[in-house]
Symmetry: C3
Subunit: 150 residues, 3 copies
């Protein structure tokens, strides 16, 4: 696998610590998203981050734009009486020589209408480039693809 050649030498212990840190990062990140806490969620990206999704003609760039998009979605969901849960997982974590970490993951979005039956809303793949700033991991670039739109 070519990924092996991109990989920094990590001990098993260091990789374990990184893997847990990344899971914790995504967990809090998605809790904030599903709570509609737009600014705290956007703080998980670098200032110049880009976020690319198949339903927009161009990537969203920067925290302000990202937070605005989440606020609009949160308002629409509240109006519709529907709770979404973004469930990230199946993390393929690839540390890069430059210190960044490429994470290939899946994200399933579950939807629950108030008083109704919960369901699978979307199944997505997500490729993130994570970088470390001030000791914390942040998303520098995110590309999301939807399985139903391939």
């Amino acid at each position: 696998m070519t990924a092996q050649t991109e990989t920094q030498p990590y001990s098993a212990t260091e990789f374990g610590a990184l893997y847990a840190e990344i899971q914790q990062f995504y967990a809090r990140h998605m809790h904030l998203l599903d709570d509609g806490d737009a600014d705290a969620w956007a703080a998980g990206f670098t200032e110049d981050a880009s976020f690319s999704v198949p339903t927009l003609p161009a990537p969203v760039v920067g925290r302000a734009g990202l937070a605005a998009a989440v606020r609009r979605t949160a308002e629409a969901l509240a109006e519709a009486g529907e709770q979404h849960r973004h469930w990230p997982g199946v993390f393929d974590v690839r540390p890069q020589k430059d210190g960044s970490v490429v994470v290939h993951s899946y994200t399933t979005v579950f939807a629950s209408p108030l008083g109704g039956a919960s369901r699978v809303h979307r199944v997505c793949t997500c490729t993130d480039v994570l970088v470390r700033e001030g000791g914390r991991l942040l998303v520098k670039a995110r590309e999301v693809a939807r399985d139903d739109l391939r």
Copy 2:
């Protein structure tokens, strides 16, 4: 985030070890639940644990009551010919200064009728307070909320 101020100083390695221990704890805990192994599942709680769910007027307190509730559910599912799978994840792990660990997580319950189509049954959030007794993590308090009942 205020949670940061509650947090014990953990090294990356220590946090990695804790994060894995917690994932392992929940995995075995949910396997026992879905197997209907009520007493072994209830042993994952402290003697005085409380478990609060939106469909009961008061929390269930103590291992005996918890095990009895699981036995009743297991019998009802067996009669209905339906297998449930409790899938915990998206663990936001917050070690506290007193040595306990608060874990905010999601739990999706999948249901599979014998010979029928599997489906999402419930999407829940779960807030646990974990404490260590005799070296092992146990649930001291659990609060479950259902996305369809908010």
Copy 3:
């Protein structure tokens, strides 16, 4: 639990490293499967691995047979215009005294028809025996059960 007596003495740090390694193993393994990368996926098994599923009268044995099965499935899905995602999780990791690791896990398969609604396709349990060859974990034996066929 009898599993305790089979368990090697692992420090919390060693178990954390192993747990992360196993999660990473399954993540890449399932990405390869869902991408239809049959040979790379089959390379995650030992040469003599056996894979038992309830829909086949006998286990599939060996990498060539495993890869062939995945290729057939990938072709059928491409023809049907459906993307599957195998989502492994809820890992109950049990290191054995002989150095192998038994992993009890759940796997949910999500299905997304092109232009249609995503859904839960299958809910499965998976028991793997992992062994280490040349430093890497490989599946020596896999038993999959489907919740709808119990």
